[in-house]
Amino acid sequence: MTPWRFLDYITTEGRNLFAQWYAAQDDRVRAECEVTLGILRQTDDWEQPPIPQFKQFAKADVGLSEVRFYVDAPRPKKNPRRRRLRGFGVYRKADRVFVLMNGAEEWGRHYLPTDALSEARRQKARLDQGLGWMHERT
């Protein structure tokens, strides 16, 4: 089985939004992110059977996908809040590559930062035009 590869999308201005988001997270989120990507690297098929760490968007956002992971906020002790973290990107099954474009926390029906998904859409459009470049995550 060829392992999956994760690439960071870097804009023509040299911005790496996923890396910026990742760097701003605490250790708990970063560790969970690394383990999730590590599991996905080794998961042969992400679609069949469906796996909880991956979802493809539909309708207006076809072509965009998200890597999903979760951390339990340590407080309050009773009923700790589950934080739902997302890494938006483009899933290229044929190449066994996932291009990470931005990160966010899902909050109800919204994201934090609020423009995370729209920014990912813009990045995908740029990638589709052949703009920017990609850097392999290790």
Binding site: D27, R30, E32, G38, D72
Partner: protein, 193 residues
């Protein structure tokens, strides 16, 4: 000593590595359960029946989002899969190596019946074979075989993925994880003759 991966640098932060262990345990056990269910052709109902658990409990055990899997449940699931479950304390280098090869190792866990069949085919007269392990020390590798040739036979009978990994010394080293050093190469040369 296992050679660490590039992610080793991140483990130098204590807080990060504590959360890393937590995340590996929560995500890798469900991953292994799903891999073994697939390998054995089991669905959740069937595994629940064999484990003495409910289908809901199996569903939670196989879901990395659940995150509150108990040791008792792991042991019951292992019983249903007819494999062993061992929770043990290890150095970070071993965790790192194990996690990087999680897929290969999860697919390569024979059931007791499969192993027993292998041993039965080898017979009972099994003098020990010595293979070099970490740091130049030697450890008795109890493969249940009377010669180096029998060691090869053991792996050949174990499982098809292990058979494929027998091709080179490097692959053999990777497959066993702990067997390192130039003396292992010598032993494997003898195996392939």
């Amino acid at each position: 000593m296992n050679v660490p991966s590039q992610s080793w640098i991140r483990l130098r932060e204590k807080a990060f590595r504590e959360h890393f262990v937590d995340a590996v345990v929560r995500q890798s056990i469900p991953y292994q359960i799903r891999a073994l269910m697939k390998a054995q052709g089991l669905n959740q109902e069937k595994l629940a029946e064999r484990s003495g658990l409910t289908q809901g409990a199996i569903s939670r055990a196989a879901n990395p989002k659940y995150g509150k899997l108990s040791l008792a449940t792991c042991v019951r699931v292992a019983a249903g899969l007819d494999v062993a479950f061992v929770g043990r304390f290890v150095p970070f280098s071993e965790l790192d190596r194990w996690f990087r090869h999680l897929a290969a190792e999860s697919a390569d866990v024979p059931t007791f019946s499969q192993e027993d069949e292998t041993f039965s085919r080898l017979g009972d007269s099994r003098p020990a074979v010595w293979l070099p392990v970490k740091s130049g020390a030697e450890r008795q590798a109890n493969f249940g075989a009377g010669s180096v040739g029998k060691v090869q036979e053991f792996f050949r009978l174990t499982s098809p993925p292990m058979q494929r990994q027998l091709g080179t010394v490097h692959d053999f080293t990777k497959a066993r994880g702990r067997i390192l050093g130039p003396s292992a190469n010598t032993a494997m040369r003898a195996v392939s003759q």
